[in-house]
């Protein structure tokens, strides 16, 4: 009746194998390494260099001071705020949508996916027009609300943060839906049945089984939408006002209008650091969750 211990991994031979593998692996990885060096590391380093360079060639931090003070700082904070809001909303709506789609038959799931993705291929101007038709003062939403005698209608749903978040969320939605959908498809539905068989109700199953199983997908989808949103400027420009100016817009202005590469480089580096910070945050949160779990288990 006693179970035999089978999990004693043969550690030594594996290690030997690994070292030989490593050497061959490096050889295989060489093209990738060169590729990354040329196309990733070099541009980043030059950007970094540019951002530290004064107009007369001397080293300076004043581009960073510039990027992190006054209006630039406030734009930066706006960027983070809108990205976070976008991540949150696209996660929530993405979750609901992906969850619904994952319960559909494959054919209908495909159709639903298409509906989610297609707006992506519509030109920005047409999309803007569409949004105005939908969300404008005389748009569909406000017309309907006004007809229903909803107090306060028409609401201003455009050219403010509501508009921007609606826009960025809709742009982001295909990513989160696709990501979450694939994660949800990977969840064995029978696990939920198993939980039910033990007496777990719907809410418990959702909270304690389903959610933890799709949590990695939620984390990566949220991170993806946050990071992608950091670089947005077209949608905020189309659907927001000056209060929703994003940092990418400033970078674009500096480079394209003012030919001011150094300041743009500094802001680019700040944006890059923000992206890394987002990555790090998710890493920390997940590893914290894991370690907490481990502690509670032992």
């Amino acid at each position: 009746m006693a179970a035999t211990l089978t999990a004693n991994a043969p550690a030594r031979p594996r290690k030997l194998l690994a070292s030989r593998r490593t050497r061959v692996g490096i050889l295989y990885a060489l093209p990738v390494v060169v590729y990354l060096l040329v196309l990733f590391v070099y541009p980043i380093l030059s950007t970094l260099f540019l951002s530290l360079k004064n107009t007369d060639g001397s080293l300076t931090l004043h581009w960073y001071v510039d990027a992190l003070t006054g209006i630039n700082l406030s734009v930066l904070l706006t960027t983070v705020r809108i990205s976070a809001e976008t991540a949150l909303f696209s996660l929530v709506f993405g979750f609901v949508l992906a969850n619904a789609i994952s319960r559909l038959k494959p054919l209908w799931a495909g159709v639903a996916m298409l509906i989610v993705v297609v707006p992506h291929f519509i030109s920005a101007l047409v999309r803007t027009y569409g949004w105005i038709i939908l969300l404008g003062d005389k748009g569909l939403v406000n017309d309907t609300l006004a007809k229903l005698w909803v107090p306060g209608a028409p609401f201003q749903l455009l050219y403010n943060e509501i508009g921007v978040v609606i826009g960025t969320t809709s742009v982001m939605l295909p990513y989160t839906v696709l990501l979450l959908y694939s994660v949800m498809r990977g969840v064995d539905r029978r696990l939920l049945a198993a939980a039910a068989s033990m007496g777990a109700g719907r809410v418990t199953i959702f909270r304690r089984v389903y959610l933890p199983l799709v949590a990695p997908g939620l984390a990566s989808a949220g991170l993806l939408s946050f990071i992608l949103s950091l670089g947005y400027y077209i949608t905020p420009a189309l659907m927001g006002g000056p209060d929703q100016t994003m940092i990418a817009s400033l970078i674009n202005q500096q480079v394209m209008k003012q030919n001011q590469w150094n300041g743009a480089a500094a802001e680019g580096v700040v944006l890059l650091l923000l992206t890394f910070a987002g990555l790090l945050l998710v890493k920390v949160v997940t590893s914290f969750g894991a370690s907490r779990k481990k502690r509670s288990a032992s």
């Binding site: 009746m1 179970a3 039910a196 068989s197 033990m198 007496g199 304690r208 199983l213 949590a215 288990a297």
Partner: protein, 379 residues
């Protein structure tokens, strides 16, 4: 449909550990399920006693899994009732039935450790933490999994995972544990071992188990009673011994005993016996008394192991040994009966006294071991 008496199982119930069941832990009445035109389960009825190990045995498509799923609540019957204890659970959601379920695919929660998996049903029931820890530890120990509590399911072998699944299903002492081919994904050796373990745990804890399998041997090793199912019908629900010795249908005789079938006609009935004239050899065969009128066409079913070789012309028929295969303690022989084109009569006789190829032998059988099935018109 025949009615089935409840056979009190000869299992020792560990006293005091169990919540005392008031009535039958599980009874099923006239359960029916159709998918379109296909009748998946047809009027299945049975009562299962506390501490009993019952198996649904049948080929795939026989309705055994559907029946189990209806009991578990994963699929809804068209009609009929399911009662757990005193409660009618027919229309209840699975989580409200309070049953245990072990799946073929284990279905352990991958994001939880072994301990968390086993503790899961207890946490749902608001059991205090200390109590949970104690009971999880106890249960894992019974399953021989002490020391594995901190591992994740993926770090365990298939057999270990199924043990954890078993622990998870029994840790909260459900009145009935349902198992859907739990050993189906394991190799033969592990299956044999786990059968013994499951049986031991079931007996030690006095569990009431409803088990589904297509593996006869597994059913025989584990079960107090077996429901043999075919085409949605319960052909027979009995102890393994009864199924072997008193099959109610040719199917059961064939499925479990791999019986020889010989066509014949009832010649006469005596107080204790029914005599049959065999169509092919014309020989007379005496069976225990069946309630069959003389002249009735019958199928005579005899298991190979119950047939004995004797001197030619001493038995109910005579023939030539065409094959004789030595299989350890037994010799399997095929005898070509004189006077007909019937298939070979299969015998299993103890090795040593076994017939050899080409030998002329008579075949005899104890009347008690003969089962007669009337042949239906057109059948």
């Amino acid at each position: 449909m025949a009615e089935f008496g409840v056979v009190t199982p000869s299992v020792k119930v560990a006293g005091g550990k169990l919540p005392t069941a008031t009535g039958k832990p599980l009874s099923v009445v006239a359960l029916r399920k159709t998918y379109g035109d296909v009748v998946a389960v047809d009027e299945a009825s049975m009562e299962i006693a506390a501490g009993e190990f019952v198996t649904f045995l049948g080929a795939s498509g026989s309705g055994k899994t559907t029946t189990l799923m209806m009991i578990a609540g994963f699929c809804e019957p068209d009609s009929g009732t399911i009662t757990v204890g005193d409660r009618d659970v027919t229309r209840l959601a699975p989580q409200k039935r309070g049953l245990g379920f072990v799946f073929q695919q284990y279905l352990l929660f991958p994001h939880m450790t072994v301990s968390e998996n086993v503790a899961f049903p207890l946490t749902l029931r608001g059991v205090p933490k200390d109590e949970i820890r104690r009971r999880v530890g106890e249960t894992l120990e019974i399953a021989g999994l002490s020391g594995f509590g901190g591992r994740k399911p993926r770090e365990l072998s298939g057999g270990q995972q199924q043990r954890v699944a078993l622990c998870r299903a029994l840790v909260y002492r459900p009145p009935v544990i349902l198992m859907d081919e739990p050993l189906g994904a394991l190799d033969k050796k592990l299956r044999d071992q786990l059968q013994i373990e499951i049986k031991a745990i079931q007996q030690e804890l006095g569990l009431t188990v409803v088990y589904v399998t297509h593996d006869q041997e597994e059913a025989l090793v584990l079960s107090d009673r077996i429901a043999v199912m075919r085409n949605g019908l319960i052909e027979q629900f009995d102890t393994p011994r009864e199924l072997f010795e008193r099959p109610r249908t040719p199917f059961v005789a064939d499925f479990l005993g791999a019986a020889n079938f010989l066509p014949g006609r009832v010649l006469q009935n005596t107080d204790e016996h029914t005599v049959v004239r065999l169509d092919q050899s014309g020989g007379l065969l005496t069976a225990r008394r069946h309630e069959l009128a003389s002249g009735t066409s019958v199928k005579v079913a005899v298991q190979p192991g119950r047939l004995r070789a004797c001197a030619p012309d001493d038995g109910f028929c005579t023939g030539t040994v065409e094959t004789a295969t030595y299989v350890g303690t037994l010799v399997r022989a095929g005898v070509r009966i004189d006077g007909g084109d019937a298939p070979l009569l299969r015998l299993e006789v103890p090795a040593g006294r076994g017939p050899v190829t080409g030998e002329r032998v008579g075949v005899t059988v104890d009347p008690e071991d003969v089962n007669l099935f009337p042949v239906e018109q057109g059948g």
